[in-house]
Every structure is written in structure tokens, then in C-alpha cells.
Assembly symmetry: C4
Homo-oligomer: 235 residues x 4
């Protein structure tokens, strides 16, 4: 008995497993890495101990003098949070995965998510050191820039090169995402350049960028949607 | 060919993705952060090493002298556990999410969940230090108060400002939750004020509050339910 | 319009949320804590650094001299693994949860799962110290005993006191679980008593118990099942 | 009333719970361990502090001098990523689990996944030490070899000894996986042998092997598939 072509055969099974190991599983694994990395950021905050050499200065001083670490923790928590929220949006736009997407996604999780506790801890510990604050701020900005670039690379590959997006996503909506996500690494790279001149201004810029970036994506997409609906009504 | 309005079109897709990135995913991500943060609390307990300077005092002494760290671990485990259980209840009451809810939830996860290992470790390490126990107890109480406030802010926003609750949740039931959750930060803030006078009494109060708080929520809600059923029968 | 009693009303909603916040969610949260705690056991293994005071002894010596830490890691990994596998079986036997079960489960996760990295690291670090190995082995055995007791308490409460088990689970099968799980804390407590006399024998006993315990549960249940089927055929 | 044999009875319930605690749950638990262990690899990177003894050398020097740790982090991230992707493929090929599979899987998670942060940190810290780099590279390669062996053991047990694979998976496809996964531990073992002579060449080999291994699996399987389809058409 011959099975008709296109039936749910071993062919589909293998295709599904090696070419598209279920977007859902990649998303769930990514969510796990996001959740652990965001919680692990807390390691940037040093726990003072009564046996520390500077314990005689008092707990209040020990806690308040590392305010830069709290700032770095909060900044990175929101940054990784933005990454998580956008990553969710990106993966909902995909209809399927392929081998390359899995590896680009792993690369992104490595550089843009799991690595972040390191520059976060470095920024918090060294921003107060006059001789080293430039390096700390540039290291942080550089890491965030690389993360943003790989994020965009993931999107460009999935949406344009491999055409993995859902058919329900129109070309305009796809472009809206591209436009919304594209500028982020450029902005962070510019702020990283500023850090060479003034690390403090750069850090203020990182904070401002994070809080500003929370908004534009839905706005830009909503704008495109309104335009599309407008042109629909006219046709 | 024009698609009928209201069909499952790109419009819905976008709305769903940016405005309501599935409550389920937010809940799963939050659960990940809860589970990881609650496990990470164990870092508050110092592992004595044979190479430590005070190792000659013997392992038994080293283990028992840090009983305050075990207490702080247990206290925070139950506190984060309460937060998890209530957060689950809150999110089951919601029918949809929006952009602001995602960010308020991230803020809550940052301040009320992921940050808790720090005050927990500080409380365990410094509660035995006469000069610093006030700072340790106030720091712990302050962190728990802020967590409780952001939790309520999340609920007030979702339930009243943005009206995201399920239609199946009556106004009375919604109020029952508001009444059940509202007092928590006030109680913890009051205990934090007590900590300025007596940090030990405050810590006893934190423990008592945690164990007492396990009960009232279902009781209050059950009370409201009984009242509603009572008034139903009469109508 | 009055809704018929027993419809999917607000009553059910509330009952479901506060009394039975979905077994699935409790299971998923517990699985998260299990997965993190089992991975966090690796912190028991000290990473030697070239800047360590004893670095001149060579990496090979530094790695091999802490073989007790590898042993403790493997022992606890299998112990937490047994706990996870049994916890899964227990929760599949439940048909619903209630408020008390949630809190007993949290207590179990705290004492039997999240706390385990501490006695594991202590056992690995101090088992080689002649003066302190009794304390290390008793501390480990004591923690495992408490974990086993709370596990059984959770089962007894759910299966007998609150009758939360599925109707498909016969009384005999329920008893089979009770018999299979009951002896574990007794065995570990006996080995803990042995540790006062000979900590090394006790640790060998812990290892033997872990590997032996992997088997009996399915055997005992299968035995009961065979008996039941036998009596069925005869009736 | 007697239930017909084979109905969804307590028999099935028990079978399902103890013999096949749902592949989905094992997969989800494994995914949690993978996601956590891959994120925990970051602990291999030492965070320099301004209070460190060598802080006067400047942050830039402190960051760049530990480039081997960054390399080890990236290498292990990709290695654990490969393991995760392949583990997913393996478990999708299974139709059911049994008791032994659960324990072999736990063994694999312990040796091949959760343990990896230790050799990763050791490799990064000691590869630059002339007297110890052989030990560091052999330790790393040995750990990766053991992980690969247990992975293959898991597959051989599930696919051949216990015949747990899905009926949809043909014998040829099964063999394709066996052939694709089999060589990995041999290659890593050979590189580990090279490490005795030249640890640097071995590490270059590990990196090359990781990047090369990303490709062959789907290729080999696709090859087998094409052959099968070819022979189908001819029959």
C-alpha cells in the first residue's frame, strides 16, 4: 500500500523535528533563559558581611555606597525585560522555525541575555571609579549594542532571508517591526560613543533609552495599521 | 478579495501580540522568575569552609551561629511563596493584558521578587550585629513594603484603571481581592516603623504577619461570596 | 435572568482560584524549583583559581582533593531527582488542590528541595575533616530526613485528611504509595543515627539507599495491581 | 458492573504514572535544567572588583586578560545548546518513557548538563597557566566526552533496548540518528587525547567540533530520507 504524498508520514515527522523543532519549545526554552538571566542580575549586588574589612563603616554606609549597583540592576532588569517582551512579539510573528533560526536564537540568548549579568555587575562596581568608569560604561554599552544587533539579525533572517513569518502578517506590519526594532542598537552604539567622553552622560542616556523604548513599538505598528485600514476603506 | 471586518486578520494578530502578548506567557515568565528567585534565596546561607579563618571553632558552631540566616531564608521563602500564590490568583482574575500591565508586572518582579535575596541575606547576616540590626530590619521591611505596594498598584491598574478583569468576576469579588491585598503593605510598613525602635520585635512581627496572611484571602472572598449568594436567594 | 445553580458562574471561578489554583500550575512551579535547585547543587563544587593560596599545589591536586564534593553533588542530584520523580507521581494521583496543600507543598519545596544545596556543600567540604565529619554527615542526613517527613506529610494530608486523590485511584493503590514512600525518612533517620558513630558508613548508606530506592515504588504498586486484577478475575 | 479490560481504568492510570510519567513532563523538566545550566555558565566569568588586589592594573586589563573565560563561556554555551537541540530531537522520536529512561535521563542531565559550569570555569581560569593547562583542557574534554557517551547511552537504551520510539519513525531514520550522534564522543575523546600533547590545539579542536557539529545531523537524516523516497518511487 502506497501512502499519498503529503500525508502525515515519516517525512513530515523528520521535517518537523530537525527543521522546525516546534516554535513553542524554542520559545519556552528562551523564556526560561530570560527568566533565569533576569533573576541572576541580582548577583551584581554585593551582600556586605559583618566579617568584611570595611564592616566597621556600618551597614547603612555599605548599603548606600553601592547605589550604582542598584541602578545597574534596575537598568539591566528593564533592558532584559524589553528584550523578553520584543522576543515574544517576534516569535509570535513566526509561523515556523528552521535550523539556522535555532542557532541564531541561541547566539542571541548567549550574547544578548545570558551575558548581561557581567556588564551589569561591572558597571555597578566600577562606575564610581574615576579611572575606570569609561571602560565600565563602554563595556556595558558595547554588550547592549551587540545584543541589539543580534536581535535584529535574528529578525532579518527570520522575516526576510528565510521567510518564516506567518502569512497573516502583512508586508507593512513586518516592515513596522523592522522599523521599530532597527534603531535600538544604533541609539545604544551612539550612547556608547558618548561614554568615551562622559560615562555619566552615557549611563543617563541608557536609562532614558530604556524608558523611552518601552513605548514606540506598539505606536509605530498601530500607525501602520491605521494607514492600512485607511487605505482599505478607500479601496 | 476583501476580508470581512472582524475576521481573524492581521489586525487581530497585531492587537493580540503587542497589546495582549497572551496572559499565559506573562504568567509562565513570572512563574519562572518566582521559582528561580525563591530557590536563589538559599544564597543567603553562607557555606562554611574548612579554610575559613574561624574554621577552628568547629562546623557545629559555624552552622548554628548563623541561625538568623536560616530564619531569614524561611521567612523570605514563605513571603515569596505568598506573593506567588496571590500573583496566580490575580492573573487568573484577568481576562487580558495590555502594554502597561506587562511593564508594571516587570517592575513588580524586579522590586518584589528578584530583589528579595538581597534584603534576606542582609537580614540574616546583620541581625546579630547590635550596631546594625536596625538598618538590616528596616531594609528588609522596606523592601517588603515596596513589593507589596507595587503588587497592589498592579492590581489597582489591572482591575480598576484598565478594566482587564474577566467579566465572570463580579464587582463584589473584585472588591474582596482589593480588601484582602490592600492591608499587607500597611502592616509591613508599620512593622518597619517598629524596627527603628526594636528590630527583634519587628522581625517577630514579619514572621507573624507571614503566617497570619496565609489565611485571610480565601476567608474574605468566601465571606463576600456567601453574602452574594444570600442576596441572590432573597431576590 | 437567573443562572441555574451549578453553571460555570463566579462561584466556580472563585472556588477554582483560591481553593484549587490548578494542580497544573502548582506542578509547573514545583518543577521549576526542582530544576533550579538540582542545577544549583553544582555550587557545592568549589572552582579552584590560579590566585588561590594553594594554587601552587597544581590544578590536578586541587580538582582531585575535592572528590567528596563530587560525591555529594552526585548523591544530592539523585536524591532530588528521586524527590522530583515521586512528587510527579504524587501530584498525578491528586484530582484537585486546596489551600493547605499549596502551603504544605511550599514547605516541602523549602525544606526538601531548595535547602538541599546547603547540606550538600557542607558534606562535600567537611567530610574530610576528622573533627567535623560527624556534624557534616548528621546535618546532611537530618536535612534529608526532614525532607522525607514533609513529603510524607504532604501525601498523608492530600490522600487521607483532605481526600484530594482522583476517584480513579483505588484504596489499594493509594495504600501502595503510602507503603512505598513511608519507610524512606525512617531509613534515612536510621542512617543519620549511624553517622554519630561512623560518618563514612552513613554516607555509604545514603548512597546505597538512593540507588536502592529507585526501584521499589513501581514494584510495590505493580504488586498491588496484580493482586487487584487477580481478585477481579475471581469475582 | 464490570469494566471492560483495556478501558481507561486505574490500571492505565498507574501504568501512565509510574512507567511513563508523561514524556512531556520529563522534557519540560529537562528543558528547565538546560535553560538554567546554560545561564549559570556565566559564573565562569569572574567579576573584577575595585577592592581586588590587582585592581590597580585597571578595569580594561582585568576584563581583557580573562579572554579565555569568555571563550570557555561561548564554547560551553554552544555545546549545551547542541545538547539541548539534540535532546529535543531525541525526545520527539520517543513515543513513551519508562522507569529506566527517567533515570538515564537524570544521569545525563547530571553529567552532561548540570556539571558543565565546573569544567567551563576551570578551563577559562587555568588555560593560561603553563603548568596546568593540560589538566584544564583534559578535564574539559573528559567531561564533554562523558556527557556525549551518556547521551548516546540514553538513545541506544530508548531506541533499541527498550524500543520506546514512535512507530512513525522508520528503522532507517532511527539509524540515521544513531549514526549522526554516535561519533560525537569519539571526536571529543580524540581531542581530549590531543590535549595531553597540546592543550591549545585541543581547545581549537573543541571549538571547531562544536561549530562543525551544528550541521551534520539534518544533512545525514535528509540523506536517508532522500534514499528512502528514492527507493519508494522505484518500488
Amino acid at each position: 500500500m502506497t501512502r499519498p504524498l503529503g500525508s502525515h508520514s515519516g517525512h513530515d515527522l523528520i521535517t518537523q523535528h530537525t527543521e522546525d523543532p516546534s516554535l513553542a519549545r524554542i520559545g519556552a526554552f528562551s523564556d526560561g533563559v530570560f527568566a533565569f538571566a533576569i533573576t541572576l542580575l541580582i548577583l551584581a549586588i554585593h551582600i556586605p558581611q559583618p566579617t568584611d574589612a570595611d564592616a566597621s563603616r556600618g551597614l547603612l554606609t555599605l548599603l548606600t555606597q553601592q547605589w550604582r549597583s542598584y541602578l545597574a540592576f534596575a537598568l539591566s532588569f528593564m533592558l532584559v525585560g524589553i528584550n523578553w517582551a520584543n522576543h515574544r512579539v517576534m516569535f509570535s510573528a513566526f509561523a515556523r522555525a528552521n535550523h539556522t533560526l535555532i542557532w541564531l536564537n541561541l547566539m542571541y540568548l548567549m550574547l544578548g541575555v545570558a551575558f548581561m549579568p557581567v556588564p551589569t555587575a561591572v558597571l555597578g562596581a566600577w562606575l564610581g571609579s574615576p579611572d575606570n568608569q569609561v571602560v565600565a560604561a563602554v563595556f556595558y554599552g558595547g554588550a547592549a549594542t551587540v545584543g541589539g544587533l543580534v536581535y535584529n539579525l535574528l529578525w532579518w533572517y527570520g522575516a526576510y532571508a528565510a521567510k518564516l513569518t506567518s502569512p497573516a502578517l502583512s508586508a507593512r506590519e513586518r516592515r513596522a517591526y523592522t522599523i521599530a526594532w532597527g534603531p535600538a542598537p544604533l541609539v545604544v552604539a551612539a550612547l556608547t560613543a558618548v561614554a568615551f567622553a562622559s560615562p555619566r552622560v552615557a549611563v543617563v542616556g541608557y536609562v532614558a533609552a530604556v524608558f523611552a523604548y518601552v513605548l514606540p513599538v506598539p505606536r509605530l505598528v498601530a500607525l501602520q495599521r491605521r494607514r492600512r485600514e485607511h487605505s482599505k476603506r478607500e479601496s
